[in-house]
Amino acid sequence: MTAVAAPGLSSASVREALSEVADPEIPVVSIIDLGMVEQITVGANAIHVVLLPTFVGCPALDVIRSAVETRLLEFDRPLDVRFTYRVPWTSERITPEGREKLRRSGFAPPARARHDAPILVQLSAPVRCPSCGSNRTVLESAFGPTQCRAIYYCAACRQPFEAFKPI
C-alpha cells in the first residue's frame, strides 16, 4: 500500500478511519484487514482512495464504496473513491491481524495462494479447524455461501466450517 500525505491531514488518519469500515459479509474484519485498500492519497482538494475488489462479481462493492465515503465525511473534503483491477487482489493481501480475526470468528484463513499450483492441490493442503485447531480436515466443496469461501469438515470435532479460498 502506498500513501501520499498533504499538510493538514495525514493519510495515516484516513487509513485509521478506514480500519473501521467493516466488510459487509464478515463484519469482524475491516477492508484494511482484508488488504482491499491499495492507495490513499490526500491531495490539496480531495481525498483519493483506490480499492481492490476481492472478486470481480462481489455484490458488496457499492456498499463498501458508500461505507468508505460515509466514514470519510468527517474530513470535510471532496472524495474520490474508486475500484481498480490494476493490481489484482489476492488472498495473500489479508494482514496477519485479519487472519487472526477471521480465525477467532470461526473462518479458517486462506492457505497460501500459489498461482503455479493446480487449484485442487491448493485446496487439499491441510487447513486448520478454526474451532479445535485440528488438521484432520477435509474439503467438502470449493464453493460456499459467498464467492470467497469454501466449505470444509473437521473430522476431529465433527463440525463443518468455512475457509477463505486461496486466490
Binding site: 475488489p53 470481480v56 462479481g57 455484490p59 460456499g144 464467492q147 486466490i167
Partner: protein, 254 residues
Amino acid sequence: MTVAAIPTIALDGLLRSMADDEFVIGFSDSEWTGIAPILEEDVAMSSLAQDELGHATALFGLLGELLGEDPNAIAYDRQPEHYRHCRLLDHARGDWAMTIARRYLYDSADAVRLDALAGGSWAPLSDLVAKLIREERYHLMHVGVWLNRLAHHDGEARTRLLVALRELRPDAATVFTPLPHEDTLIEAGILEAPMSELERRWRETIGPVFADLDLPMPPAATELDRGRLDHREAFRWLWGEFTSVRRSEPGATW
C-alpha cells in the same frame, strides 16, 4: 495504448463476444439454483453463476465506456439475434451431464482465450483478465472433477455424458469463432494470436484429458464463421427469461 488508437469496432467485437458468453453461461448456471442434484452443487452452480454475471458486468462496463452507452442497456435491451455469445451456449439446460459437458468445453476454451489476452496492450482489459484468470481456475477445476466422475462411471452417467457431447459436437469449438477485425486486435497487441491458433492450443490442452477418459474429441468446426450467429430456440427462451423483469417496465430505474 489509448482507446483512441484502436478502432472501436475491433474492441467492440471482442468485448461483446466475451461479455455475452459470460452473461449467457451465468444465466444457464443459475437455472440450477434450487434444483441441483445435491445441495453442494446447488451452492456451487449459484456461485459460478454469480462469478460469471460479475465478469459480464465488468466486461459490459468496459464496452459501455467504449461506446458511451449504458452497460445495462447493452446487456438487456438487445433482441436475441443481436447477442454474440458462441453457439455452444445455445443449448437448453438439459440434464446434469449436459451441463458439465458444456461447461467443460466452455471453461477449457475460455482459459485459452484469457491466456491470449493476459498481458495485452490495452490495460483496462488486460488488468481485468488477470483477475478473471484467478477466478476461472476454480470453475475449470470444479467442472473437470465432475467430467472425470461422470466419464469413469460406467452406466447411465457415462452414457448421458456421451449423449451430451454428441449433441454439442457441432458447436464445441465455437468459442473460437473468428472475431470481426481480429487482425487489428493482434496488430494492436491486445490479442496474442488469431482464434484459429487458440483453437489449436485448446485441442492440445483437452486432447490428453479426452484421451485419458476415452471420450471422443470434438470435431473441427464447420461453418465457424457463423459460430456466434443464428442462435437457437433454446436461447430465445433463456433471453425471454432473463429480460422479463427489465421488459416489464421499460425505462424504469431499478
